[in-house]
């Protein structure tokens, strides 16, 4: 007998399925049931760019300690896809478990000797009970959830409650699902020796009042709360579900009670160029507007982004990043659009980026981005990614201050104009680089101006005079410095012991980083950490770097894009910033970060500065 991995509330189960077989909802049910037992879970979809037929995986990390990053490694594989059998079996940790459909006998060579095999004749059970092909397919998934609930000690009452919520008012569906669940449970009880699987779920109290939500859904809700009235978008993975979620939130929350009419407008445009054009038109005309897209969409929008920046029109873009370049890896995650967003468009352009770490910050930052775009009169990017956007993530509940009023920035009204207030569209009145604007249609004789992508003077008059141009560019630079002050500030986590080493990270790396810091600390590797939440960088970023001899910059891209931006902005020895890069399209893991940093630390601790950095 192989050894048997033993763990309570700390293991990884991976489901290998066929896309389009209805497995997604069964797998999510599995994860939610554990969550309802008070044990945190962190599930991830690993799916192909395909609708039906290709392999798809769902990985559930059960983690009492709330380590919500991807762990890496698989303790139990639920192998439901013959296509990927060999690689799925290979992935299991020694002593781990293989759960499979044993209806058809498999040759011994299909298995491994160092893992534990649990066969359940799922097809046989299903076929004996159901005649309809679709029912057979769907209930087979519920049957394996039933069997797993016996093996892992998942409380069936929690699963039944979840059925009750899902099929409220559809008693027939509820009953048939409970029946399928029990089929799996009964078979496992009768045929599998108790204690075969030593991975167990034990009721705990570690979920608290946290919510379980996808980042795209959260960002969409942030757009509703942040007062977006116009959304224009073009379907692109992994961002499509964001605009769709905005639509469904608006249907519930944004219709006038009396007339039933919509207090929003959503246009699925003909392409990304039109999407951002619509956003800019609406922003120019005083509506809060946003688009959601991914890397290739940003490439297309680039010209318009330059216009919005130079003509100073508010716009919000949520970029749910995926693997690049070009079409790249549409269904894999990366943080590789930093440079293309930060410096999008020709000429000297720089844009404001926000880096949410989870769905909670997707909500907060999307709402904040709408305020920031109005205040700064410029495009603001919310840089999320597939890992946050398309996976359910446990996070703090959404909070909204009842007293919060949208900050529309510097807008001159008809009354201001009548009172004789000077209006120069590009005039820096307050010394922060941010001028005042009027909305079209404000006043019959005052306050109109021409918006253009060409150079202009303080009063929006076309000018190609060198001095006028330079003044305008300097003011835009000043505005950018203002952005660094009012955008979300970085958050610092200090090691309990003084250290010369620091680490900078951002966005979806956050949960893996938190776990990696624990591992490093346990191993005596003391590191201070700074989570960057916006570009332009706050002064605290430079201060943090100066405080340490070496700063690791952890990113999910090949080129160390954040590191490049930091070097671009601050005067410092580039060798101080040590890249830690993970970019194979899978979410970064704590194991990777901790191992890589520990390895590099060991070098730095014994090797003089010059050599280690070379």
């Amino acid at each position: 007998m192989p050894q048997a991995l033993t763990a309570v509330n700390d293991f990884v189960v991976k489901f290998a399925n066929v896309n389009g077989s209805g497995s997604a909802s069964a797998n999510e049910l599995f994860a939610r049931a554990i969550l309802r037992m008070g044990v945190p879970v962190s599930p991830r979809n690993i799916f192909p760019s395909n609708i039906q037929g290709l392999p798809t995986w769902y990985e559930v990390r059960v983690t009492e300690k709330s380590y919500l990053g991807r762990r890496g490694g698989v303790d139990m594989m639920v192998a439901m896809n013959p296509q990927t059998w060999a690689e799925d079996v290979k992935e299991i940790e020694p002593g781990g478990y293989l759960f499979y459909d044993s209806t058809k006998p498999m040759p011994a060579s299909a298995f491994r000797e160092d893992i534990n095999i649990v066969g359940v004749p799922l097809t046989a059970i299903t076929n004996a009970t159901y005649t309809d092909a679709r029912q057979r397919q769907l209930f087979k998934n519920i049957i394996y959830v039933g069997a797993l609930s016996i093996l892992l000690d998942i409380d069936p009452e929690e699963i039944k409650k979840l059925f009750g919520e899902q099929f409220k008012g559809k008693e027939k569906l509820l009953d048939s699902n409970v029946k399928a669940l029990n089929l799996g449970r009964d078979w496992a009880t009768q045929h599998i020796e108790p204690g075969t699987v030593k991975l167990k779920v034990k009721r705990a109290n570690n979920v608290g009042n946290r919510i379980f939500v996808e980042g795209n859904n959260a960002a969409a809700l942030g757009a509703v709360y942040g007062g977006a009235t116009v959304c224009a978008w073009y379907p692109i993975t992994p961002s499509s579900s964001l605009a769709e979620a905005f639509q469904s939130h608006c249907k519930r929350l944004r219709h006038d009670k009396e007339s039933g009419k919509a207090k929003y407008a959503i246009v699925q445009a003909e392409d990304e160029l039109a999407s951002i054009g619509i956003v800019i038109g609406a922003g120019w005309n005083g509506s809060r507007a946003f688009t959601s897209t991914s890397g290739p969409g940003i490439s297309l929008m680039t010209e318009f982004i330059g216009l919005a920046s130079f003509a100073e029109v508010p716009a919000v873009l949520v970029n749910v990043q995926r693997g690049g370049p070009s079409t790249g890896m549409p269904t894999r995650t990366q943080q590789s659009d930093l440079l293309s967003c930060a410096y999008a468009s020709n000429g000297d352009t720089k844009h404001v980026l926000l880096f949410p770490e989870d769905p909670k910050e997707c909500f907060d930052f999307t709402a904040d981005a709408l305020d920031l775009a109005d205040r700064l009169q410029t495009p603001v990017f919310v840089m999320t990614d597939l890992d946050i956007g398309m996976n359910h993530r446990l996070c703090e509940p959404f909070v909204w201050d009842e007293k919060r009023v949208y900050d529309r920035g510097k807008v001159i009204t008809a009354d201001d104009l009548d009172a004789g207030k000077t209006f120069g569209r590009y005039l820096d009145v307050d010394g922060d680089g941010i001028p005042f604007r009027t909305y079209p249609g404000t006043h019959p004789s005052k306050g109109s101006y021409f918006t253009r992508g060409t150079t202009k003077d303080e009063f929006a008059r076309y000018s190609e005079e060198g001095a006028v141009y330079v003044r305008n560019m300097e003011r835009l630079q000043k505005k950018f410095h203002t952005a660094a002050r009012i955008a979300p500030q970085p958050l610092r986590y200090s090691s309990p012991k003084a250290t010369r080493f620091g680490v900078i990270y951002f966005g979806s790396t956050s949960p893996a980083m938190a776990e990696a810091l624990d591992h490093l600390e346990e191993a005596g590797n003391h590191v201070n950490a700074l989570r960057v939440r916006a570009f332009p960088f706050a002064q605290a970023v430079e201060d943090f770097i100066h405080e340490h001899d070496r700063v690791f910059v952890v990113e999910q891209n090949r080129d160390g894009q954040l590191r490049s931006m930091i070097m671009n902005d601050f005067t410092l020895d580039a060798r101080k910033l040590v890249p830690v890069l993970h970019y194979d399209g899978t979410p970064i893991t704590a194991r990777f970060i901790a191992t890589d940093i520990a390895k590099k630390l060991a070098q730095f601790k014994v090797v003089p500065f010059e050599k280690a950095a070379s």
Binding site: N209, R210, I211, F212, V213, L221, V224, Y225, G227, T229, V230, A232, L253, R254, D256, S259, G260, K261, A262, K263, Y264, A265, V267, A269, E270, L273, A274, S275, I276, G277, I278, V279, I280, G281, A282, G283, W284, N285, G286, S287, E303, F304, L307, P397, F398, V399, W400, E402, R404, V405, Y406, P440, G441, P444, S445, S448, Y449, F450, T451, G453
Partner: protein, 351 residues
């Protein structure tokens, strides 16, 4: 055209319209286009139309792309906001602007390069969405600002100033607009103010996607023999199907005309279009007939002008989206934010 700015002081004898403005109040900055440019005549026609329609100047929003035509919005209705966007993408910006504030009057000004070459996609899509606007293409078949290259509306076989014949098929924006679902489509000639001004007025009163293709000769690069967009060529080949009188108000027209010489169409806003027929029987409300007649004209080398197609009861984008009557840009925090109580419920549903 005029290089000397006229004094801004208004002569007391200037006649004010019902809104209290003189014709001069609808002017813009002095044009920097070439003397004799057809575009300036179109600007003048827009000024005349706005004046006659008693529009409040600041209630107009002018949007354009890039090119000579797209500079034109500077030269009319100076008291309104304008937006010179990027090349070929004005339609999307105008769509967004219209969504933000449905109460303004949207005037999109573009050229043949801007709309038929680089911007053909956005041109088609704004028509099919039914954005409430007047979209004018100042069509000269040539790139003026970059000095004389053919645009996509240059007729096949027409000769450039450098003597090169255009071998590409031309794109007829009128046909395309009708096909894409524009609900008001006309063509005119910059040199025919009597036809053009009422067409612009009718288009502005139209509560849907209105498109006007205005042939506008480029005196610098496309006004020579061999060009099919020159003043001489268009004058010779102009096949006007009708002339319209635009009549505001809801009263029925009672003046009697000989049978077969006049058609009246009432638009949704109550205004009347009185079409004086110039040639054959032509019913502009018949979409299929309109497409047929336009194609016949193209075949015969005619520049078919007039009101070519109108749907008197159009539905616009706001109708399709069922948006509230108040402009979206006037909605404030209490109108838009569901508040913390609703958020608590959402949180509860996510546990």
């Amino acid at each position: 055209m005029t290089y000397i700015a006229k004094p801004k002081l208004h002569h007391p004898s200037l006649v004010k319209n019902k809104a209290g403005y003189t014709r001069r109040d609808y002017e813009g900055a002095v044009s920097t286009l070439c003397a004799g440019c057809g575009h300036d005549s179109i600007s003048a026609a827009i000024i005349q139309a706005c004046y006659e329609l008693d529009i409040l100047p600041h209630q107009v929003a002018k949007l354009s792309g890039i090119g000579c035509s797209s500079k034109a919005p500077t030269y009319f209705v100076g008291a309104s906001h304008g937006f010179n966007t990027v090349h070929g993408r004005m339609p999307s910006v105008m769509t967004g602007a219209n969504l933000a504030n449905r109460d303004l009057i949207y005037m999109g000004v573009s050229g043949d390069g801007d709309s038929a070459s680089i911007g053909l996609g956005q041109f088609a899509h704004i028509m099919r969405r039914g954005v409430n606007m007047t979209y004018i293409v100042m069509n000269n078949g040539v790139y003026g600002l970059t000095k004389g290259q053919f645009s996509a509306t240059a007729d096949k076989g027409s000769i450039s100033k450098k003597g090169v014949a255009n071998s590409d098929e031309s794109i007829d924006l009128v046909s395309l607009a009708i096909l894409m679902g524009a609900t008001f489509v006309g063509r005119s000639f910059s040199g025919d103010k009597h036809q053009l001004v009422p067409l612009i007025k009718a288009a502005m009163a139209h509560k849907g996607a209105a498109f006007l293709d205005v042939v506008s000769p480029c005196v610098a690069f496309n006004n020579h023999a061999g060009s099919t967009k020159s003043y001489d060529y268009v004058r010779e080949h102009n096949e006007a199907l009708n002339r319209i009188d635009f009549i505001e108000g809801r009263e029925e027209i009672t003046t009697q005309y000989a049978p077969g010489t006049m058609t009246t169409v009432q638009q949704h806003d109550g205004s009347w279009l009185r079409l004086r027929k110039l040639g054959e029987e032509y019913d502009p409300a018949d979409k299929i007939a309109a497409m047929k007649r336009v194609q016949e004209g193209l075949q015969a080398g005619e520049v078919v002008t007039g009101l070519l197609y109108v749907d008197p009861t159009p539905k616009d984008l706001h109708h399709h989206l069922n948006t509230v009557e108040a402009p979206l840009n006037t909605l404030s925090t209490p109108d838009l934010c569901p508040g913390p109580a609703a958020l608590d419920k959402i949180n509860a549903s996510l546990r």
